[in-house]
Subunit: 210 residues, 2 copies
């Protein structure tokens, strides 16, 4: 239910071919999210898993536990890191032109397992800052034992592209006269009221950054 | 920042090994969404793209345009279809135990390109019903030319698993006494007010199903 006409409206930006503006667009979309879908090729075929991530300059950091078998024992697996924000359902007059409004980024490359403890901390901070800015300085930091149980991978943002669709449906000209409602149902992700841990220590207030 | 303790709390359900209850859990998660992340292996490596989908019984349907080069010309590509609902950010006292609450399903298998026009319509209806129930009977249906421009793939829900994390953080016992706020920031996807197409024909009301 996509068409060439719809695709014309979809701005596809490839980096670095189209310059720094494009990379800014990629960064903006990456920074607007914190869960990516990370794809890699396992022995039995492709695998896609939701994963927390964070960006620092030209690098995306993801983390996983060695025990979880992420990437098995690969040190530098080929991956595709995809981040998607669904902004709305596009209800066209024709079923064919139904679509969604979204912002999406794809980063291709080889994820590299970080071995240097300082760099690991940098990556973990990027992930934490992306989830809850300010949390890094507030929560108890990782100890050596915890760091040993943590894998952090980095992926360079080089071979990447952004795709954005916005606006109303694009129907065939002859369909605009049909008595069918058309438009967009906007969607967004919202945060609800914070739920304190039942075991929260008495007298501990919600920090300002939350 | 996951740990074995956290993973113990994560219910992993594998189907069909763990029976029909598990499959119901998979269906429930699939039916609660409409955008999947579909992974496949291209010549240069793994690719993950956001894609609309719909479920009918034991089958997930996805669609793509032949021109978009989805799966290139593969008739039966190995895929991983992943659906994730992010329900909240889990703010633990230790950075290590930070996590997210989510419901996720992974379906592995070979997607099969549908050739029978009636079966294509069935698949397209499943996708449409998943986006906007009631829309299928209201919008203008696809004509032969549009069907020729549309690819519909089906994927059997057989080799699949669901993963769910709910509830408060799971901190190390000694950390519960720290003066650090802990809890969950709930997240949900909400629909905003419908935005009518600027070219909406005068007198056409919003249908009840929307």
């Amino acid at each position: 239910m996509t068409s060439s006409r719809q695709r014309d409206k979809t701005r596809v930006r490839r980096v670095p071919e189209r310059g720094i503006y494009d990379k800014d667009a990629v960064y903006e979309i990456l920074d607007a999210g914190f869960v990516c879908h990370l794809g890699y090729t396992a022995s039995h075929g492709p695998v896609v898993l939701p994963t927390l991530y964070g960006r620092l300059d030209d690098t995306v950091y993801v983390h996983g536990s060695p025990a979880a078998g992420m990437f098995r024992n690969a040190e530098s697996p080929a991956v595709c890191l995809t981040v998607t924000h669904v902004d709305g359902i596009v209800l066209a007059r024709s079923l064919f032109h139904h679509s969604m409004n979204y912002r999406s980024v794809v980063v291709l490359g080889n994820a590299e397992k970080i071995k240097d403890p300082d760099e690991m901390m940098l990556g973990l901070k990027a992930v934490t800052d992306n989830i809850a800015p300010g949390r890094w300085d507030d929560a108890r930091g990782p100890n050596d034992d915890e760091l040993r149980q943590t894998d952090v991978f980095k992926l360079e943002i080089a071979n990447c592209s952004a795709k954005v669709r916005t606006g109303p449906p694009g129907d065939d000209e002859e369909d605009y006269d049909l008595d069918i409602w058309a438009g967009v149902m906007p969607l967004s992700q919202v945060a609800g009221e914070l739920i304190p841990d039942p075991r929260l220590k008495a007298g501990v207030d919600v920090p300002e950054y939350l």
